[in-house]
Symmetry: C2
Amino acid sequence: MGKMRQVLAGETIAVPPIWIMRQAGRYLPEYRKVRKQAGSFLDLCYNPELASEVTLQPIRRFDFDAAILFSDILVIPDALGQQVDFEEGRGPVLGPLDLESLDKAAVRSHLAPVFETVTRVRAGLAGDKALLGFCGAPWTVATYMIAGHGTPDQGPARRSALGDPDRFQVLIDLLVDASVDYLLGQLEAGADAVQIFDTWAGILDEEQFQRWAVDPVRRIVDRLRAVRPQTPVIAFAKGAGVRIGDYATATGANCVGVDWSVPPAMACDLVDDSIAIQGNMDPMRLIVGGEALDRGVDRVLEAFAGRPHIFNLGHGITPDTPIEHVERLVARVRGREGN
Amino acid sequence: MGKMRQVLAGETIAVPPIWIMRQAGRYLPEYRKVRKQAGSFLDLCYNPELASEVTLQPIRRFDFDAAILFSDILVIPDALGQQVDFEEGRGPVLGPLDLESLDKAAVRSHLAPVFETVTRVRAGLAGDKALLGFCGAPWTVATYMIAGHGTPDQGPARRSALGDPDRFQVLIDLLVDASVDYLLGQLEAGADAVQIFDTWAGILDEEQFQRWAVDPVRRIVDRLRAVRPQTPVIAFAKGAGVRIGDYATATGANCVGVDWSVPPAMACDLVDDSIAIQGNMDPMRLIVGGEALDRGVDRVLEAFAGRPHIFNLGHGITPDTPIEHVERLVARVRGREGN
C-alpha cells in the first residue's frame, strides 16, 4: 500500500500521501449517478457491486493514495437489530433503542456484503494504494443510537452516560465487541488499515472523554492487534483538541486524525513523533479554492514536514466542493514530488 | 464588587467567586413569568424595568457573585439597522445584510435602554456583587449577520471570510467600533467589568482564528482601556482549545473563559498565571445532578485551586436544568468557605 504503509509505520517521507475523508460522495457526479441506481442509502452500503464502484471512483479521478470503504458508521446498529433509516435531507433516523434485544452474534453475517465490497475493492486497486476499512467509535455510534438522530450537542447520550454510567457501559461494551468483529471482517477481506471515527469525542469533558472515547478505542485496538498484530490503526477524535497527544498514545493508534481547530505546530508538539498525524486543512478552504486553498495546503505541508504525515482535511469533504478545487489540491500537495 | 474584583485583578482566593453563563433565563420560573409580560424577546432586552428585574433574579435566588446584564449579542446588528427577530422555537432570524446601509452612528442612541438597565441593576445590587456587561465578539456576531440564522458550522461566514477577506474585514471593523461604543456605554452606566462572548471562535483554523477572533477582540480591549484603563475584561472563545493560552495573552484580557473540552490542568498549563480562568464544568453535569455534579464541581475546584479562578460552566445553563441542582452547585462551591 505504498506511501500509506510507510507513514503508518512511522516513516517521514518528502511528499505525504493524500486522501480525503468522505472522498466517495455527493460532490462527485459519478457518485450521484450510482446513488440513483441504488434504492436506499443502506441498500447502497450493502450492495458490493455498487459500493465497490463508488469506493474506487475518487481513486480513478484523483489518484489518491488511499481508498476508504464506502459504508456508514450506522451499519453497526443496523446489524445489531436497531432500526436505521436515512431520510432525504434529514439524515439518519433510528428506531427506539432496546438494549436487551440487540444481538451481537448477528453482526458478521449481517455485514457480510460489506466484507465482499472490501474484497472487490482490493482486487480493483493498484498495489501501491491502501484500502482503509473503518467504523464509528463506540461513543459516536452510541450518541446516534440513544438520540435516534443527529443533534446539535448529542445531549441525550451525554445525559445517559453521566446519569446511568453502568447501563451506558453495557451499550459501549456491546459496541466494542461489534466494532472488533466488523473491523476484523474488513481486515480479513483485504483492508490494509482501519480508521476509527469519533466525530463526537470533543463534546466530552476530561473524565468522560477518558471513559467513553479513549478506553473503548484502546480496547478495540488491543483486540485487533491480538488477532492481527501488524494492523495499522488511524484514530480520529474530532474536537480532542489539547487532548490529542494523550489520546494518540493511550489508544495505541499508529496515526491520529486532527481537525483544523488545532494549529499544526501545536499538534506536532502534542503528538509523539513516532505516531503519524493525519489532517488537517479546513474543508472550507477546499470549497473556496484559489489563494485560500493554496495557503491552507502550504501551511499544512510546511508544519508537518519532517514528521510522519498523511495529508487530509480536518473533517469530511462537503457536497458543495468544486471538483477543480480537489484537482488543484492534489496537484499542489504533489507539486513537491521529486524535490 | 468583592471577590470578582480580586480575581479579575489576578488574586488567588480560597473560595472562588461563582456565576453562571445565561443565569438569567428560562430554567427560572420567575424569568418565564416576566418573559410573558414582555412582547418579543427584543422588547424584553430593551425594557429597562423588566430587563433589570430578570438580571437580578438569579442573584436573589442563588446569591451569585456576579450579575450579568440581560441582553443579547444580536442587539448590535439590530442597532446597526439589520432586521433581527427571535422566533419561538427557531432562534434568531435576521434580514438580508446590506453592509453599506449599516449605521454605526445609531448604536449608542438605539441601545440607550440597555444602558438604563445597567444603571438600574447596579443600583439594586449589593456592593460586593459585580455587574458584568457583555457583547458578542465581532466574529460570532458576523456569523449570524451573514447566515441570517444559526447554522451547524457557520459555513456562510467562514466562506465569506476566506473568499472575500477585504469585504469581511469591513464588517468586522464596523462591529469592533459598535462593540466599543456598546461596552463603553455599559461601563459608563455602571458595569464593573465586561465579557466578550465568541461562541464560534473554535470553528476557525489557525490563520483565520488570529485574524477574526484574536485581532478584533484585542482591538476592542485596547480601545476600552484607552478610555477606561482599569476595565476588567473577560474573553470567552469557545472551542479555542489548545489556543487558549495564546488567546488570553494576545487579547490582553484579565480573564479567559474556558469550555469543558479543555482539561482544567491543561488550561492551567496553557494560560499565564496572572490571567484568571473562568469555567469550566460541563453544563450537562448540572442537568444530571447527584454524583456527576459533585464530582464535576470537585474536579474543577481542585484543578484551579492556587490560581485566579472564577467558577462557571463551560457554556450557558440550559432550560432543562433543575433549580435544586443549581442550589447544590452553589453550596458545594461555597462549602469550603472559611476553610
